[in-house]
């Protein structure tokens, strides 16, 4: 019997969708191994977030509300999560493999003397017990790993799991006295420079319009009209970010975001393995590139060999005409 502690993530007073994907991972573990899960919400002024998560089948929703938890800092978060895991008797602690999850969870693992599996995309039964499936070598290989410690820690690749639907019912809210202070010492939060956008979150969008280095300083001019027409998010290759055409938050790939939308446009992107690692599980992939030999055409469902500066505005015009 497993007792799982799922760490919720939230923004502007509401749970992020990737929390629901992580809950689906927990549900799958329970389906294999039996047991149940709890949720934990950490932050400052997060009562509303906790309330919004009471309908997802958790035995309890723990709330750790403390001014020192206003920003996700690895040291204090790890301490509060590990304390909570012990209190809940959890033998599996999980959170999405967001930048916060990647930052915090390994420290939780050390505190709980746990082994950790990163970026897990599936749960599989093996002769050696329950294993976690995870991409390795930029997704060129898959490893099934067994965590051999009594307590386990997992970061979950959200795009590989559906969002758990609300189950109804009402999990009890349990307020806990968090004690992050000692672990907050020696780190000072200086600031955050956010990407302001009214578009959907890249990790959650059902349409992603991604641009590469080939778009140069017309990156926005080409990607924005198509993204806005389809209600999509904008993504980018690393080269487009490196060259300053797009913000770092847009990067899709091995070291950026991993997305799996219904529809992914790769525009002027060559299709390096590191980029494919972040988008090859998209449902439908469209590649627009002027060079027919690029590897992106090996994964695209629909390839158009054309100059993006001409083809994309034309595409926008035709879709608009269709909808008129």
């Amino acid at each position: 019997m497993t007792k799982i502690l799922v760490i919720a993530e939230h923004e502007k007073g509401a749970p992020k969708k990737l929390t629901l994907n992580t809950l689906e991972f927990a549900r799958q573990v329970v389906a294999h191994a039996g047991g149940s899960y709890d949720l934990a919400v950490l932050g400052s002024g997060v009562g509303g977030v906790a309330q919004a998560l009471t309908g997802y089948g958790a035995d309890a929703v723990y709330v750790a509300d403390h001014p020192d938890l206003a920003h996700v800092l690895a040291g204090p978060y790890a301490k509060v999560i590990a304390d909570l895991a012990q209190r809940a008797g959890a033998d599996l602690v999980c959170m999405s493999a967001s930048s916060a999850g990647k930052d915090v969870l390994p420290r939780v693992a050390v505190r709980l003397q746990a082994g950790m599996a990163s970026d897990v995309v599936g749960v599989v039964q093996t002769a050696q017990g329950l294993a976690y499936r995870r991409p390795m070598w930029a997704g060129n290989l898959t490893g099934d790993v067994v965590v051999e410690t009594p307590v386990q820690v997992v970061s979950v690749r959200a795009s590989a799991f559906d969002a758990l639907a609300a189950t109804g019912g009402a999990s009890p809210l349990v307020e806990v006295a968090a004690d992050p202070q000692a672990a907050s010492a020696r780190v000072r939060y200086v600031g955050f420079e956010g990407v302001v956008s009214s578009r959907p979150d890249l990790a959650e969008a059902s349409v992603v319009v991604a641009g590469g280095r080939g778009l140069k300083d017309r990156f926005n001019q080409i990607t924005e009209p198509l993204a806005d027409l389809l209600g999509g998010a904008i993504g980018a290759s690393r080269a487009a970010v490196d060259d300053g055409y797009a913000p770092n938050d847009y990067q899709v790939g091995q070291t950026g975001k991993v997305v799996a939308p219904q529809l992914y446009f790769a525009i002027a992107i060559s299709g390096a393995v590191q980029h494919l690692a972040g988008m090859k599980n998209s449902k439908v992939i469209v590649a627009i590139n002027k060079n027919a030999d690029e590897p992106i055409f090996k994964v695209a469902d629909y390839g158009l060999v054309a100059d993006a500066f001409v083809a994309v505005p034309e595409l926008v015009g035709k879709i608009k005409a269709l909808r008129a």
């Binding site: 050390v110 990163s118 290989l141 420079e193 938050d249 390839g303 034309e314 879709i319």
Partner: protein, 252 residues
């Protein structure tokens, strides 16, 4: 002041990889390169040393001894890192946790002020060692750094996180993990390659480090090749694309 940096070799990401006969690792004629993120960490250490002076830089490599020694010399010492430490270990069975415990033991001996580590190794892709190490040492951390400055006993780090760029000021000693946009790693100058041969490189065995239990916590039980995506069709023109996205794919 002293900076400890990571120097890990990884199999070339562009090489075709074969799974070993027992199904738990890679095999064959594997070409190795320095882990890209370690190159960024090494470059960062060199730039900090050049800017501030009076900083000793030490590279740590863990792995099969001859090969790892070669990577420490060519990838770190030849670029300008002052000296190296090699801990010989079986790369297949050292998980992130064991690597972090080795680092922690070396850090206790060396007492660096700053540890700079690549944010992930592009073979295992776990992205754990820096964070595990910081917790083992009880030090603060700043991961995924795209800018690092030393100021009055603090390291001020700009971090690439979801949603934008976060800046943290962390009191030394601390662990910082390097992201790719931190810098452009330099090539080793010819003179550096010559000098590297004479630079000190200490060799340690796992037993020397008194780890207690030198077992990994995570074990790969099976490796496989994911099902590839099949190439689709090339469309004639934009009209053809729109028609197919609408009628076949039903996404418009």
């Amino acid at each position: 002041m002293k900076i400890l940096v990571s120097a890990k070799r990884v199999s070339d990401p562009n090489a075709k990889l074969a799974i070993s006969s027992d199904g738990t690792w890679i095999e064959g004629d594997v070409e190795y390169v320095m882990n890209y993120f370690c190159e960024n960490a090494i470059e960062c250490a060199l730039q900090l040393a050049e800017e501030h002076g009076d900083i000793e830089t030490v590279a740590l490599g863990i792995g099969e001894s001859d090969e790892t020694a070669r990577f420490i010399r060519q990838g770190a010492l030849a670029r300008g890192i002052d000296r190296g430490i090699l801990v010989s270990a079986d790369e297949q069975t050292t998980d992130s946790d064991l690597i972090a415990r080795i680092y922690a033991r070396v850090a206790e001996r060396e007492a660096p002020d700053l540890i700079l580590i690549g944010k992930q190794a592009v073979d295992g892709d776990s992205n754990q060692v820096g964070q595990l190490l910081a917790e083992y040492l009880g030090w603060p951390q700043a991961t995924f750094a795209s800018k690092v400055e030393l100021k009055d006993g603090e390291v001020v780090v700009t971090r690439e996180v979801d949603g934008g760029l976060e800046t943290l000021a962390v009191t030394l000693p601390a662990v910082v993990t390097a992201d790719l946009r931190l810098n452009e790693p330099r090539f080793a100058p010819l003179a550096g390659i010559m000098k590297a041969k004479k630079k000190p490189l200490d060799e340690l065995e796992l037993d020397d480090l008194e780890l207690g239990d030198a077992k990994p916590k995570v074990r790969i039980v099976k490796m496989s090749t994911p099902e590839g995506r099949k190439a689709g069709v090339l469309v004639k023109d934009v009209d053809d694309l729109v028609a197919r996205l609408r009628a076949e794919a039903r996404v418009l």
